[in-house]
Amino acid sequence: MTPEEIINPANRVYARPRLLTEANTHYCPGCSHGVVHRIVAELLEEMGLENRAVGVAPVGCAVFAYNYIDVDWVEAAHGRAPAVATALSRLNPDNLVFTYQGDGDLAAIGTAETIHAANRGENIAIIFINNAIYGMTGGQMAPTTLLGQKTATTPYGRRADLNGYPLNITDLLAQLRGTCYVTRQAVHTAAAARKTKAAIKKAFENALAGKGTSVVEVVGTCSSGWKMTPAQANDWMAEHMTEHYPLGDLKNE
C-alpha cells in the first residue's frame, strides 16, 4: 500500500481534537502546557462535556487557555482559581468545574485558596502544572524550584539556608480530608501522557459524581526557563524532578 492509499479518514487513528481552536498557542516549542491542553480537549470531547464544562484559567503561562480550548472559561485573579471554581460549582452543581493552574499560581500566591478549597472538599478538579519555575515572567525561582536549580533569581542554584526548601504542595493536599483523589503524573513520554489522560479523566468523573476535590499534578518542563532543548528538558525532568516529586497516586478514595 502506498502512503496515499493509507492516508484517508477511514484509516485515521489520531486527529487533532475538535475542541482545540484553530489558534496557534503562544507556548514555547515543546512546552508541557500544549500536551495537557490537548489531553483536556480530548477528554471533554470523549466524555461529551463540552456544553457542561467550565474551566477557570490562571495567571501565568496558561493565562490564555480560554483561547485554545473551546469551552466556557472564567479568568481568575492570580492564584484565586479554586475560589472562583468554588462559586461556580456551588451555583451550577450540574456543571463540570475544573481549574488549570501553574506552580506559581497554585503553590505560591494561591496557596491559601488552594488549601481551603481542597479542605472544604469542593466538587472541582484541579489540574496543576508544576515546572519548578516562573516561566512567563522570565524564569525566576518558584516555591517548587529544586535545591541547587539555577534560575534567574538563584543564579548559583537554590540554597536551603537562603531560599528555603522546595514546596511539595500535592503531598500537603493529600493529607486533607476534603480531597478524594490526588495524583502526580508527567507528560514526557507517550506512556506517561496516556497515564495523565486517565488521571484527569478520573478527576473529572469525581467532580461530576460530587466526591470532593481531585488534584492532578503534572510534573512538566520549561525548556526556555531551564535553558535546554525540549528533549533535554524532558530528560532532566525525568532524572531530577521525579526525585523530589515522585510520580504516582498519593490518594485514591
Binding site: I7, V187, H188, A190, P230
Partner: protein
C-alpha cells in the same frame, strides 16, 4: 501474520520544531527538516521514512501543538 502499515501527516505550518515527536518515534520515521523552515521560522517535522511507520501514534501523543495525524491499516 497480519502486517500493520501506518502513515503520519504533519501540519507543517502549525509545527514548532520541538523535536519531541522525533524522540518519541520508536521506528525513526520522523525527522526535522534541516534545510527548510515554515512561515514562523521553525524547522518543522516531516515523515522522512514513511515505509517504517507502524501507526502507533506515540508522536501524536507527545505533540504539544496537536499538529500530527496518524493513520493505520492492518493488512491480513
Amino acid at each position: 501474520m497480519p502486517k500493520v502499515i501506518g502513515a503520519v501527516t504533519v501540519d507543517a505550518m502549525r509545527c514548532k520544531g520541538c523535536e519531541l515527536c522525533v524522540v518519541a518515534c520508536p521506528t525513526h520515521t520522523l525527522a526535522l527538516k534541516s534545510n527548510d523552515v515554515n512561515d514562523r521560522g521553525y524547522h518543522y517535522a516531516y515523515a522522512a521514512d514513511m515505509a517504517t511507520c507502524i501507526g502507533c501514534a506515540a508522536c501524536a501523543t507527545v505533540c504539544p501543538d496537536a499538529c500530527i495525524e496518524v493513520y493505520r491499516v492492518i493488512e491480513k
